[in-house]
Symmetry: C2
Subunit: 595 residues, 2 copies
């Protein structure tokens, strides 16, 4: 029988001294000291020292002899003050111990394949296979509970603001654009398939057309991704949509949410409103649409200064419409030649840069890595424009604008990490706004919607939709935290005329639009309110708040990078009968490697 616990392992103090209590939990550690057995008993709430002594109870003491790590037990005993010398000030229950009168062993444990401890490094595959043991580690318990707190405070925030929580379907329509859709064959509708949602986008817009006004949901989404780092086939989204709002309305609600989450889960205060930066400025200043603004090192454009330079790398670049840009690395003018060579090699190998040019603005000399080709005057002008202080290093790249901004952005991050220049105690939140509406795909020779085809163009760029589609800005925004995109959204098109223009710009015919998005377009014909929304990546937020290095650290049962769950070993082979029931067969070859 289960001993009904009176307390958890995390709460007893001297207030309970003398009381009889019942604790349940796992044997964390066991020490046998001269006939007295000490157990640290562990549960989700903490650790309590329990003591088996023949003086207290002969039978319990004898039974305790067989206890080993990870046995699950219940004890009844008396809370007793510890001797002064045995007090452990690092543990909440460190003032007391429980002297046991009765022991029940609920279940035994084999020796675990790794120690249940944060200190022990363990191969990740082993951790994932024995996830139930991995999840016993204090750090993982903390991550799961922090994640639970994110749900709690997110939900209460939205409940408090009259948002309706509404579930959208998981079995939805597959669209021909649905590359990366997970498909689900229907047994009762032979030959037909559902798709799992990559996002509830169409449904939340439909809910606005339904008059639900303010919707939120914390919802799983699915993408059959190509295998790469830090993606999960299923991921969790905080999904929001509002009617009769513009960008300001979305910003205000989202900022309040993030402020609440940060305050309530990790006790961090952030100021409102969050700073904003246009996409254009983000690229020009940080070479990224998700800049890490916890450190400076903003870009300086040297193009004008070096336009007429005798150094062809500079002048040719500018002639060709490219850019010569750089940034100042504070106090790194002292780096030696070897270090700079290695950095250059990394910029070439890892970032694809053509070469790395640098100026060391030191007290004794201003050293330029291209002094042979660039005049001292030009170098001095560059130093001046960069606002570098004495002792600073300036890193410079030259090349085609799109490429070089990105490379310099990556270099900025690489250097900041290398030299530990990021104050990780800070939390910087930033809106990046005015994203381009469309992206040109040179391979396909057409434009694609950068967010999705229902994103509204900016009113003032509407005229460009046909004449200069690449320069139309969208009413789209991303929320960036510490250099990670944690969310994005837009004000949607709610006017069928503008929608038609949009489809035209995307080269989508009326018939095609009807086939792909028919039900949403039809809904818009019956009175659609202006609306917009945002989706935040809950996994990523949890990762940032826990300081975890991987999404797998904040998901209870993640897949690995091959989209495989090592614990239950799925996806797996299924019986031919089962496939027959679903009216499908394996394609030739697909089954063979599993035979």
């Amino acid at each position: 029988m289960t001993l009904k616990r009176t307390h958890t392992c995390g709460e007893l103090t001297r207030k309970e001294t003398g009381k009889e209590v019942v604790l349940n939990g796992w044997v964390d550690t066991r020490r046998d000291l001269g006939g007295v057995i000490f157990i640290d008993l562990r549960d989700r709430y903490g650790l309590t020292q329990v003591v088996f002594s023949p003086q207290d109870d002969e039978a319990a003491h004898t039974a305790a002899d067989q206890l080993r790590s990870e046995f699950v037990i219940g004890v009844k005993g008396i809370v007793t003050d510890r001797d002064e010398e045995n007090i452990n000030p690092n543990v909440k229950t460190g003032d007391i111990e429980v002297r046991v009168k009765e022991l029940t062993i609920y279940s035994k444990s084999e020796t675990p394949p790794f120690e249940i401890s944060d200190e022990v490094k363990t191969n990740e595959d082993l951790r994932l296979k024995y996830r139930y043991l991995d999840l016993r580690r204090p750090k993982m318990q903390h991550n799961m509970l922090l994640r639970s707190a994110i749900y709690q405070h997110t939900r209460n925030y939205f409940y408090g603001k009259q948002f309706a929580e509404i579930e959208t379907p998981f079995l939805m329509r597959s669209t021909p654009e649905g590359a990366r859709d997970y498909l689900v064959p229907s047994r009762v509708n032979p030959g037909k398939f559902y798709a799992l949602p990559q996002s509830p986008q169409t449904y939340k817009q439909i809910l606005m057309v339904s008059g639900m006004d303010r919707y939120f949901q914390i919802v799983k989404c699915f993408r059959d991704e190509d295998l790469r780092a830090d993606r999960q086939p299923e991921f969790t989204q905080i999904d929001v949509e509002m009617s009769f709002v513009d960008e300001e309305g979305i910003y205000e609600v989202t900022e309040g949410l993030m402020q609440t989450i940060l305050k309530e889960t990790i006790g961090v205060s952030v100021d409102l409103p969050f700073p904003r930066m246009t996409y254009q400025d983000a690229i020009k200043t940080y070479g990224s649409d998700k800049p890490d603004t916890r450190f400076d090192m903003k870009f300086v454009d040297f193009s004008e200064i070096v336009a007429g330079s005798e150094f062809r790398v500079f002048s040719k670049t500018v002639e060709d419409g490219g850019a010569v840009i750089g940034f100042v690395v504070p106090e790194k003018g002292s780096l030696g030649r070897g270090v700079m060579d290695r950095l250059t090699k990394r910029a070439q190998d890892e970032l694809g840069a053509g070469g790395l040019i640098y100026i060391k603005n030191n007290e004794d000399e201003v050293y330029s890595s291209v002094s042979k080709f660039v005049s001292e005057e030009t170098t001095a002008e560059m130093v001046k424009k960069s606002n570098a202080s004495k002792g600073d290093l300036i890193l410079i790249l030259a090349g085609a604008a799109d490429t070089v901004y990105q490379q310099l952005g990556d270099l900025r991050l690489m250097v900041a990490k290398e030299y530990d220049m990021i104050d990780t105690s800070k939390n910087h939140l930033l809106w990046v706004t005015d994203f381009p509406l469309l992206e040109y795909d040179p391979e396909d020779g057409r434009y694609y919607a950068m967010h999705h085809p229902f994103t509204s163009p900016k009113q003032e760029d509407m005229d460009l939709l046909e004449s200069d589609p690449g320069n139309v800005r969208a009413r789209a925004y991303d929320l960036v935290m510490n250099g990670s995109e944690i969310g994005g959204g837009s004000i949607r098109i709610h006017d069928s005329d503008i929608q038609s223009h949009m489809f035209k710009a995307l080269g989508i015919s009326k018939e095609e639009a009807e086939k792909k998005f028919g039900f949403l377009l039809e809904a818009f014909r019956f009175g659609a309110p202006p609306h917009g929304g945002i989706a935040l990546g809950l996994d990523r937020v949890a990762m940032l708040l826990t300081g975890a290095k991987s999404l797998r650290e904040v998901i209870a049962f993640p897949k690995n990078q091959r989209a495989i769950s090592l614990m239950d070993n799925c996806p797996n082979d299924v019986d031919t009968d089962q496939l027959e029931e679903l009216h499908i067969k394996l394609a030739p070859g697909a089954g063979q490697k599993n035979a």
Copy 2:
């Protein structure tokens, strides 16, 4: 541009008289009275009368002329007291109207295929096709918001009790027992499949092994059901699991939850603890394992009285081990012959009863439908045992015990509905306990777990597991509300020895158990706490609380009874390319009917 609303359509009263306000919403109704146009403007929060008069604003009045039902508009105007004779006391905003100075039309609407009104009966297929319009109806808005309130109060209840909300995977392992599993082919793992969860059962048990102690989640589950009434391919479960508890622990938490939900969403108080009834008693008393206890009509067993009856239907039934049972229908002794004949026919046609025997215990005479065969003394004894009052009717069935209990249970419900004997203002919650652990399937010649193979047998029945498996009772319980099963759960097996016995009783070999449940069995080898849980059907709870007649009334985007979503018309055909990417093909024949 969107006019930024200052108020919703549900909140203005005379407190705001004289203020300039902005409202956004849908045109509900429009009346043109002598050059003045009255609009009832509707949003999720209510209705407000807005008035367009040339005196207030010429341009707005002119523009208002084109307004039709379901146009989406914004108005700026002045809150004005209505004349006494125009006050509408049925509407919160009925004291005022808004005299419009500025009108913006956000979008127009075609004439909807049905009126947006609760009063108008509309074909359900049409409602599902135009779900976005259907959801604008006040009743559906109410249902969605009540459902949202269920989420809110459920979650806050669990958050307040230190339950951790943890997401379990949607892409999980398919088990060979997984009939009705939805399968999901993996693109990146050719020939392999995930399954969508029919319930997170194994994961929540794993979470207990992980030491998470108290878990809850509101989670979608999936079942590729055969098509029948009132099932949905995806449904929502309030899923709970706790460590170191017995039945009492689960009952207490669940009762508190239901009390909270009923109080907070529909303002109904229920007393704790809920009554309990064993499965055995429920069958013997009501002929159902989910008895509707809002009305009485308990079964009376006449078998002993009629055992020696000259009426062979009675005596033969008892001889063969069957039952002669009935119940009293209060005040229906006056029903005429024609009514009784029709009832008999329905009992035969709809319930499969052999025949219906009845006694009218009237003041003037005690009439038995089998008086030719049954002595007056026996009839009098039956009346006496039934405790029937004068004027009551006694309905009686005879037959094999299992069958006749069920038939009489169905008859009890049929009669209660027919004569409106159920007090629907009451909410009766009831635990049904001590379910049989195993069910014998005569076709397969073996036992199956009635709940699932991890359900714990009762300690005192453990010995019967091998000798008399059909009589082993489980530590399993259902929660019944007003005759509907709204949840069920059990205390689980956490001991590998007992688990082995269980598999043996189920005829599952060690190898098979390993293949099907390997990872869970392995987890149990590393210290499993005693644990148990429950899952409540949120859709059904929402249905009961809203008084809806179908699950489809409380799900935003339901499938119909063919598992089809009529709004977006899924499941649907997909391109052969897409199937190729997933390494599958349609089975011959499956695709043809869709070509």
